[in-house]
């Protein structure tokens, strides 16, 4: 086997690398949305938050020279967007889905407007940790360049799961999402809890956006996001509102996304676009296989407006 060419073995390797690299924004946005939806509200605006996060991260990283400062700034921009969504939804008779769509458009539009000057320059990128030191193959080494953010996301999922079950904050969040009536009877302030949950969700989505501009693809332009934000919202439903399942769903989606390019690189050009659609086909197939028209989605927070 030549160094740098693995032949057909390159396909599973590329899928694995894709699972790690492409999944990170999905992972962060879906974990954030999971948190928001657990409180009984859906934030469709995360696509806008993601793009806004990507722009902010790139701009701050470029300006300060520190990519981690960019990640933090992206998170704060996301927090602001989440808080905006939650405060509008806290008003009487406001629909969270409509507000989400509005904020999705606002976020992308604002990011394009403010991000114009940052399309050309190159900002400092996030460092990656090399897990491929043991291999002589350049392909393996490059595939196992794992970004630190991915590891953070990986650690965050079990932490969220634990927190939702074992902390006061997690329990209050779930009560508000399961039964607003019960939460009110227990004296918890529903809007406040949802505000915090949506703001935290926005923070994570913003961080997910920073990964897009600071690691992969690793630049800022208007075609940076191809709907990752909105797909991640769907992944939460796919993952049945379970943070750990969000990890698996993101990995699956990332891996499937890498299938088309990987096959192309070994010479399979037939049906390239079809393979590029693999993640969507796969998601659709699994959704159909695991859903039923006769009953509610298991695990869905009872207060969620789309499942009521």
């Amino acid at each position: 086997m030549d160094d740098g060419s693995l032949g057909w073995w390159g396909v599973p390797l590329a899928v694995l690398a894709g699972a790690i690299r492409i999944s990170t924004p999905f992972l962060f946005v879906s974990l954030g949305e999971c948190l928001t939806e657990k409180s009984g509200r859906i934030n469709l605006g995360l696509e806008g938050t993601l793009v806004m996060g990507a722009m902010t991260a790139y701009a701050v990283s470029y300006g300060s020279g520190d990519p981690w400062l960019g990640v933090l700034a992206a998170g704060l921009a996301g927090t602001a967007f989440g808080a905006l969504h939650a405060s509008i939804c806290g008003l009487e008779r406001v629909n969270d889905i409509a507000v989400g769509i509005a904020l999705m458009l606002l976020g992308t539009g604002l990011a394009f407007f403010l991000g114009k000057p940052f399309i050309q320059p190159q900002a400092p990128q996030l460092p990656a940790i090399s897990f491929g030191w043991w291999s002589g193959s350049a392909q393996v080494r490059s595939a196992l360049q794992v970004n630190a953010l991915f590891l953070v996301g990986l650690a965050l999922a079990p932490l969220l799961l634990w927190g939702l079950r074992n902390t006061r904050w997690g329990m209050v969040l779930r009560i508000v999402g399961e039964s607003a009536e019960a939460a009110r009877a227990m004296g918890y302030k529903i809007n406040q809890v949802r505000l915090l949950a949506t703001a935290c969700g926005g923070f994570l989505a913003g961080v997910g956006g920073s990964f897009l501009s600071l690691h992969y693809p690793g630049s800022w332009n208007e075609r940076l996001s191809s709907g990752q934000g909105i797909t991640a919202v769907a992944l939460v439903i796919f993952a049945r509102w379970d943070p750990m399942l969000c990890v698996w769903a993101s990995l699956l989606f990332g891996g499937a996304s890498a299938l088309g390019p990987a096959l192309q690189s070994v010479g399979v050009t037939q049906g390239y676009y079809l393979f590029n659609a693999a993640p969507y086909v796969l998601t659709l197939a699994i959704m159909i296989a695991t859903s039923s028209s006769r009953h509610r989605l298991a695990g869905a927070p009872a207060e969620l407006s789309v499942t009521r």
């Binding site: 074992n166 902390t167 006061r168 009560i175 399961e178 039964s179 019960a182 004296g187 009953h295």
Partner: protein, 513 residues
């Protein structure tokens, strides 16, 4: 059973509660007019009254949901200001609501711990579990604290609600119609345990109810409200069910139920065979229901709510797809689509009519025309609607069924509950009806409306309609039914006639024994 001058228990830890001259106005309407009530420590006090008599307003003022316009609340003879339900909790007041307030998908343990005023930032579930188990050991109630609330039977849910208040250190317990979703046996057990705790001096209890039997059996004192005013108060021993009823409804006349005219025929109108259906969550709710209703017959379906009655009515009304079995009307298979509904004249009085039988934002006239808006004389050629004719027809129905509305153009959601029910009744009964499905048709209505609607149902029966009456109110079923069946866990488990009915057997069947 009710010792009028029951000596107070030797060791009383329960406080006294007194409300003095409470007044609450909503705009020009006085919901509560200078009402006083006094709960002796360690006693069970019943609060009686019709719907709208001010019972809820009174307890909501005491619990801090409403701020009374006038009057005071005293705990152990000290005036207290209760601004919100949390403040009520600190004064030892706890309320168990008519609807359950526990989070269904969480366990009893999680629900109870989270209801506390202070919960640690990180919860040690093992320690909390041990502490709750130790607390429960001192209580007469037995519940599984690790079960999700949704999996508990109604009786156990009610117990969990009560245990929650005791766990929150409530010493004055207010119960809002605590037995409305329980079987008679479950009700007796729960109230018996509560009463035992009061007898031991550990609790002072206020029960809101409309069941005289429970007042006579479990309360020491009683207060009756009528139209926001105090109608009477005193020891239960000094009252009879009749005297309480007079206090409750005053001297207004009640229409007697229409006399039954003729016996049920032999013609099977509605035949349900082996019917199966799933509930909202996909779990089987109907597990093979067999049921026949004859022409000129009212068949009552008794049961504790949540045993498949809702799903049965939904399948019959075409709101839910059956997973097995068959429905036949007039001997023919019945698909519950609009063509079949029309051909077989199957009409329906569902529960919560505003949700299940009306479009709230549409006018009374439009809602009343749902059955026939696309037929002559309301439509030409089946598509051109004659709105003037629709309004005329509605005006006629409004007059005949005494629906109180500002006019046929008013959105039906602006009507009161009783008048929405009357409007639906007018739509469903003013035409030829072969089969009538009625589900809790008088739920939440006052005496006059109840008598009126009952009379209409019996009249429909006398005209030859086959009536299936699903109700949670056993008294209503015993009064109206020709035949009574009991439904439990999705099957019919017992059949009897009101004349031969044995309440103990029915109660046991309802509980699923």
């Amino acid at each position: 059973m009710n010792e009028m001058t029951r000596p107070l228990p030797a060791e009383i830890t329960a406080p006294a509660l007194e409300a003095v001259a409470l007044t609450k106005r909503f705009g020009a309407f006085t919901a509560l007019d200078s009402v006083s009530i006094k709960l002796r420590p360690g006693s069970v006090h019943a609060l009686l009254g019709e719907n709208g008599a001010g019972k809820s307003t009174l307890v909501k003022c005491v619990m801090g949901f409403y701020r009374p316009d006038d009057g005071a609340v005293l705990v152990n003879n000290h005036e207290v200001v209760i601004g919100d339900p949390r403040a009520a909790q600190t004064h030892g007041l706890g309320m168990v609501y008519q609807h359950f307030t526990l989070v269904p998908r969480m366990t009893v343990l999680e629900n109870l711990v989270m209801a506390r005023a202070s919960v640690p930032a990180v919860i040690d579930w093992a320690a909390e579990r041990a502490a709750l188990a130790a607390f429960l050991a001192t209580m007469p109630f037995r519940i599984d604290i690790d079960a999700p609330v949704a999996a508990l039977a109604a009786g156990d849910k009610q117990k969990a609600e009560i245990v929650k208040q005791l766990y929150l250190k409530a010493r004055i317990l207010i119960l809002d119609e605590p037995t409305s979703v329980l079987t008679p046996d479950e009700a007796d057990e729960t109230l018996g345990l509560i009463r035992a705790m009061a007898l031991a001096g550990r609790l002072t209890v206020l029960i809101i109810t409309h069941k005289f039997r429970e007042v006579m059996a479990f309360a020491d004192d009683v207060t009756v409200l009528r139209r926001g005013k105090l109608a009477g108060t005193g020891s239960v021993a000094a009252h009879t069910p009749d005297s309480l009823a007079r206090l409750m409804i005053g001297e207004s006349a009640i229409a007697a139920p229409a006399a039954r005219d003729g016996a049920p025929t032999n013609e099977v109108r509605l035949a349900v065979a082996g019917l199966r259906a799933d509930d909202e969550s996909g779990m089987p709710a109907l597990r093979g229901v067999d049921l026949q209703v004859h022409a000129r017959e009212i068949v009552g379906v008794a049961g504790v709510s949540g045993n498949g009655q809702v799903e049965l009515v939904q399948v019959l009304a075409g709101q839910r797809t059956a997973t097995g079995g068959s429905l036949r009307v007039h001997g023919e298979l019945y698909a519950a689509d609009r063509a079949d509904i029309r051909r077989h004249k199957v009409h329906c009085l569902p529960e919560e009519p505003l949700r299940n039988a009306c479009v709230p934002g549409m006018s009374v006239a439009e809602n009343m025309a749902f059955r026939c808006f696309d037929e002559a004389p309301l439509a030409r050629g089946g598509w051109w609607l004659d709105l003037a004719a629709m309004r005329r027809a509605a005006r006629d129905l409004i007059a005949r069924y005494r629906v109180k509305t500002t006019g046929p153009e008013a959105p039906i959601a602006t009507l009161s509950g009783g008048n929405v029910q009357r409007a639906v009744l007018a739509r469903e009964l003013s035409r030829d009806v072969d089969v009538l499905i009625a589900a809790n048709p008088v739920f939440g209505l006052d005496f006059a409306a109840v008598a009126d609607i009952h009379a209409q149902i019996v009249e429909a029966r006398n005209r030859g309609t086959a009536v299936l009456l699903v109700s949670e109110d056993l008294d209503e079923l015993l009064e109206l039914s020709d035949r009574l069946v009991v439904m439990s866990r999705g099957v019919i488990v017992h059949e009897t006639t009101p004349a031969a009915a044995d309440l103990t057997v029915i109660g046991r069947c309802m509980a699923g024994h």
